[in-house]
Symmetry: C2
Subunit: 370 residues, 2 copies
Amino acid sequence: MTGYGIFSTPGTAPRTGVQVNGQILDLAAATGDPVHATGSLNAFLAQGPAGWAALRERIAHLDGPMISPAEVTMHLPAEIADYVDFYSSRHHAENIGRIFRPGSPPLTPNWTHLPIGYHGRAGTVRVSGTPVVRPKGQRKPPEAAPTFGPSLRLDIEAEVGFVVGVPSALGESVPVSAFAEHVFGVCLINDWSARDLQAWEYVPLGPFLGKSFLTSMSPWIVPLADLEAARVRPPARDEPLLPYLDDADHPWGLDLAMEVRLNGELISTPPFAGMYWSAAQQLAHLTVNGAALRTGDLFASGTVSGPERDQRGSLIELSWNGADPLKLADGSTRTFLEDGDVVTISATAPGAGGTRISFGEVTGRIEPAT
Amino acid sequence: MTGYGIFSTPGTAPRTGVQVNGQILDLAAATGDPVHATGSLNAFLAQGPAGWAALRERIAHLDGPMISPAEVTMHLPAEIADYVDFYSSRHHAENIGRIFRPGSPPLTPNWTHLPIGYHGRAGTVRVSGTPVVRPKGQRKPPEAAPTFGPSLRLDIEAEVGFVVGVPSALGESVPVSAFAEHVFGVCLINDWSARDLQAWEYVPLGPFLGKSFLTSMSPWIVPLADLEAARVRPPARDEPLLPYLDDADHPWGLDLAMEVRLNGELISTPPFAGMYWSAAQQLAHLTVNGAALRTGDLFASGTVSGPERDQRGSLIELSWNGADPLKLADGSTRTFLEDGDVVTISATAPGAGGTRISFGEVTGRIEPAT
């Protein structure tokens, strides 16, 4: 038993399913509970840890319709409330710093003190498989006026997402210790990025159109409750942590092995275990000012990159901003994405008893600009 | 007839009302239409211009319960989908540039080419009157490590908000000419800002916790259809506009006269007519990359500041970042907000036949940090 998602078969309405032994158990039919017939996980997510645990216990004894994954269409698993994207891989942040600010320290001074993040566009978070229409916008050539047209530097960001079930009140802060009381589970995210649009727009208020055209989400959400064997201690931190970020007693590093494929070819294996800031710290930071959580809030890790070249989670890093193109098996090279390219991100993690849990995949095909 | 909002009286459920001659017409009771009994404007907003016009026509002939504003509680008028905040007052952007980057050009190079914006937190947009609990977070003293505690530089941002009714599809761009086919109406926004949190966190990905603790929204949304007499041509632009931002044939400047009061004392009168980028240009920019709109999307102008000192829409400008405190009528001074302070933003605009339309107000009282 691993992920929960929303599926349909031809002629039937989207409903909740859970993965059991490679098949999909139809929870709407098996339980008769209308909470699983809404076409979204939100009502179930809002039940909180007691409800999540009760269903988990019950599933082992349910005798319901099992459906082959080949027969289903998967839908966006949750109605996304707010979407926040963090920037918590040190290797990624250093690579970006070296590319854009050569000669300066690769990390901004705040980076080791807080998990930097920003709000993205919740309304354009879509399920895996949604076509990636190349976005248009302003691009600024050096020493010339900006021009308008399709992005010429379309990129991926291989990320891990966390889905909030239990809301918090305005003014309330969620401590690191309460992470699993609010967050239901984990998914994969591709935060598609138009680097040329982003480079021109993002000073001083951050990324906007360079990101907001599409964020793809894997259809299955793996419960935190299934990930106990994957928990690891995050790497040592450079700076003493302020108390609200101290996670010594609540380490929420997760040993996900990620794989990024371009047109089927493995181009990167980002190691999630090395992330500097954990999701529990991200949630504590997100709410420390009193910002409320809602059921369906999604927050993502930021691009996951490891120390090695073949562990980088974006093309801007893999091709060093185009200066060192990625060599593909067919002899061609790639700097940024071309129309027709298909990018697929997948991941596995240690499960109970030496098994491995699959997170499935998040995939998308680049379509030409309209 | 002006604004639409959601109201309740003691013991009754929130429902839609419209302002008629200083009273509130109960649209749920007067029309019997369940769309007005949902406790949110969203279903009505989604009807689009034909539905909006039909109701407007009908209201003149409706004979329903009229309720005194003194008897009602107002609620958040719409479920906010995505919230975007722009930065479209040239005077504001120049003031901020002069304060934070002395010796450099006050505007970043992109400012005159595109309406800079970013996504805010939709889940913490609340109705006027919601207490403003002083947020906590990291503050970085010069030459010292960051500390944690209540914001010491809590500020306002006097803004105008635009509420989307009609969605757009992923991949679709909404041209300047289609502004009124998607946007229903206009409200007032106070985008509360913790300047010390913001200053430490915002490089390189923009504002996050410095803004996400609360954004206050006025309870009444004035339809664009009532604002024809308020339309003005925006100021001349410095740079030629890319075609998708060309608004020569669709000027959507709006001559709102705003007033900002601190504890009842008028401290600023920001003129909205002088905004460099119009809401129609903001919407065209927001969607030019194919980002979809949803019913309930809210986008705000950014702080409205005029050229004069007493036309600045934030305390960081009014007190020049604390260097030149604001002198109040009681002899006291103010740099940033103190606990107990009440800030109220109101506005009026020219209406049909020489009348003036009121936008009501957005207000909030600062409560101590918890």
